[in-house]
């Protein structure tokens, strides 16, 4: 390929010839002779790199803000490389904290090798492709170049951040028979006080509330709140509209962090968690528990890119029949551009699901993005949008659904504390 410089040199050479002929001036013809010789000799000095490469990564799965080390070995399998530019292609969100992914060198023929070592920081969740390795060889004068790629590609999955949450007030009305750590607002085996009732034959003596007996003269017993495991469904909206905002601040990213934190909390509590991600298609991580389930959920959240526009109504029709009645359903959605939302939520309530909506506020994300880019924000337009959103939230709350309007400035842990279902 010709560089811009080569094109300029040719143009200057042609101009010299034409001017030289019109002015009958050998000075200009001498210039054009030198310029054309410069081009011709450089063509033959251009080389082709035949390289092989291998990349080693310290980690293939990390959390947001985590780092991974890469070591790239490049071996020359051809002749002289001349002026060789090597760049290990990285996604633009990745930051290099140490070392370099770029070099400019001349590798020795047949076996000449070099190593690039660098540390990458991944600030945002996602599935990242490292590589391929792009090569560019040039002649010494940079008049011609050749580009090629070494198809050495590695992948790194970056899980969304998981915050440590001490308590969440999301509970099921339909407990499973297995003992767990979740209070289920029903009398049963547990440790915390729930209610007082009349003594019935067979009740253990240690449950009798002696103070109540002293004041009322009736035998009354303490009931404890039942601790049990529960099935929890997290519905994560990853439609294209969830990407409104910036790379580092949008509903998709915030929502994924909330979903990951919730899943981690419930799974630690030995609950059974199911994840439904809807974007251009529906991806379901079937209910399960334990570390393996958490890993599957985190992987699904990491790879959930903002795309598609499937409505919640359609998802509800497909998923609801397989969900246990009365169990908590947590919908994480920015509530944008979905006409089926109200109907889907009311259907869930009719079927007695305990619905909580955590809604990252996309309007605020959009305003933040515009302000950061210096774009003027029309206050009237946004006040109308906010009003529309408030009306929708009020409508959803009218069905008995708890809705948390999540503004970007509010920390995740505080938002989750607000998401109590009673």
């Amino acid at each position: 390929m010709w560089t811009k410089k080569a094109v300029l040199v040719v143009s200057l050479a042609v101009l010299s010839i034409l001017l030289g002929l019109s002015l009958r001036n050998p000075l200009l013809l001498a210039l054009s002779a030198a310029l054309l010789s410069y081009l011709t000799i450089s063509v033959f000095a251009n080389t082709t790199a035949r390289l092989a490469a291998e990349r080693k990564l310290s980690h293939e799965k990390i959390f947001e803000d985590g780092t991974a080390k890469a070591e790239l070995l490049i071996v020359n399998r051809g002749g002289k490389t001349g002026f060789l530019e090597v760049r290990d292609k990285l996604p633009r969100q990745v930051q290099i904290t140490e070392g370099t992914n770029y070099t400019y060198l001349n590798l020795n023929p047949k076996g000449g090798a070099t190593r690039l070592r660098y540390t990458m920081k991944f600030p945002l969740k996602g599935l990242y492709q490292i590589g391929p390795i792009t090569l560019r060889t040039q002649d010494p004068y940079n008049l011609f170049y050749r580009e090629s790629e070494v198809p050495e590609v590695s992948e790194i999955t970056v899980f969304p951040q998981v915050r440590d949450v001490k308590e969440l007030y999301i509970k099921s009305k339909q407990p499973k028979i297995y003992p767990g750590e979740m209070k289920v607002k029903m009398p049963g085996p547990g440790t915390d006080f729930f209610a007082i009732r009349d003594y019935m034959p067979g009740d253990p003596f240690r449950d009798i509330n002696w103070k109540a007996y002293a004041s009322t003269g009736k035998l009354l017993v303490n009931e404890r709140e039942r601790l049990s495991v529960s099935d929890i469904t997290i519905v994560f909206d990853s439609r294209e509209v969830s990407g409104i905002g910036m790379d580092s601040d949008n509903a998709n990213l915030y929502g994924a962090r909330a979903a990951a934190t919730l899943a981690n909390f419930f799974l630690k509590r030995r609950d059974s968690v199911q994840l439904v991600v809807y974007s251009d298609k529906v991806r379901t991580v079937k209910k399960g528990s334990g570390q393996k389930q958490l890993f599957e959920i985190l992987t699904a959240l990491a790879t959930a890119e903002p795309k598609g526009d499937l409505p919640l109504g359609g998802i509800a029709e497909v998923v609801l029949p397989y969900m246990p009645r009365h169990s908590p359903v947590i919908i994480i959605s920015n509530l944008e551009e979905d006409d089926t939302l109200s109907k889907a939520v009311s259907t869930m309530k009719v079927l007695e699901f305990d619905v909580t909506i955590i809604s990252p506020n996309s309007i605020e994300f959009e305003i933040m993005a515009k302000q950061k880019k210096g774009i003027k924000v029309d206050p009237v337009a946004y006040s109308i949008l906010r009003l529309e959103r408030d009306i929708l939230i009020q409508e959803l709350m009218g069905y008995g659904v708890r809705v948390v309007d999540w503004k970007p400035a509010v920390p995740l842990t505080q938002v989750l504390l607000e998401a109590r279902t009673y």
């Binding site: 200057l12 010839i17 010789s37 000799i41 992914n101 660098y118 004068y141």
Partner: protein
């Protein structure tokens, strides 16, 4: 869709030596510029406007070396400030050569030029090429340094690259110089041969020496151009085949 806030790093306008490592190239570029002025004046004689134009051109080119690749216009298709200054500077220098050459009566009759003068002409051509080359190389290696350090956290050592450039560049320069002298001498040889073969034809050749020079360039470079077009096309295909074969062979781990 998500709007991206990464990689929005515009290069700020900064005046001064960009990278001390490439100072030598900058100085060489300036030196070659003044040598071009000197040789041209020596060949053609002094003419105020032409000489001024050349000197301004050399200075503008040098000023281009002292600015960052700042985007003067909001379009990536237009050259950056340093490149623009270099192009304008070289253009002015070239304009000065044209003016000085056009004002010299002796030069308009190449039949009177001696072989020594042809060598001086070739030298002027080569020095002009070097003037362009060193100025461009300085910017090129500045951008390599910027590229190497922009997203990485390692000090990039450009010295081996520069050593390689000077080594290989000098080797190529000898060939370029030899080819230029050969091309210009061909005119001289053709003139002598034509006179020996047929005096009438020889006189015609002498009378039209400038056209003979142009035809010589065409005779040499047009076949080379056609050959290179074919060669490149053929080599591209060959490379693709080799790449495919290499991909099939890949598999053995490189790490031991």
């Amino acid at each position: 869709m998500a709007e991206y806030d990464f990689l929005e790093e515009k290069v700020p306008l900064k005046i001064g030596i960009q990278n001390p490592e490439t100072t030598m190239l900058k100085v060489l570029g300036l030196l070659m510029g003044f040598i071009v002025v000197g040789i041209t004046v020596a060949l053609t004689g002094f003419e105020t406007v032409g000489v001024l134009l050349m000197i301004v051109g050399v200075i503008v080119t040098f000023v281009g070396q002292l600015t960052t690749p700042y985007e003067l216009f909001p379009s990536e298709k237009l050259p950056k400030l340093n490149n623009l200054l270099m192009i304008v500077g070289i253009g002015l220098t070239f304009g000065g050569i044209v003016l000085l050459g056009a004002n010299n009566v002796e030069l308009s009759d190449p039949s009177q030029l001696s072989l020594r003068q042809y060598v001086v002409l070739a030298t002027l051509g080569i020095v002009f090429v070097l003037y362009m080359e060193y100025n461009h190389a300085s910017m090129r290696f500045d951008s390599v340094l910027t590229s190497a350090t922009r997203y990485s956290k390692e000090v990039f050592d450009i010295k081996p690259v520069l050593n390689n450039y000077f080594k290989m560049g000098t080797l190529l320069l000898v060939n370029i110089y030899a080819l230029t002298i050969l091309l210009l001498s061909l005119n001289f040889i053709i003139r002598k041969l034509a006179l020996a073969v047929n005096p009438q034809f020889g006189h015609s050749v002498i009378l039209h020496s400038v056209y003979v020079m142009a035809i010589t360039l065409a005779i040499v470079f047009v076949p080379i151009g056609i050959f290179l077009l074919y060669y490149f096309e053929h080599q591209e295909e060959k490379l693709k085949r080799e790449e495919m074969a290499q991909k099939e062979k890949e598999g053995a781990a490189l790490y031991t």
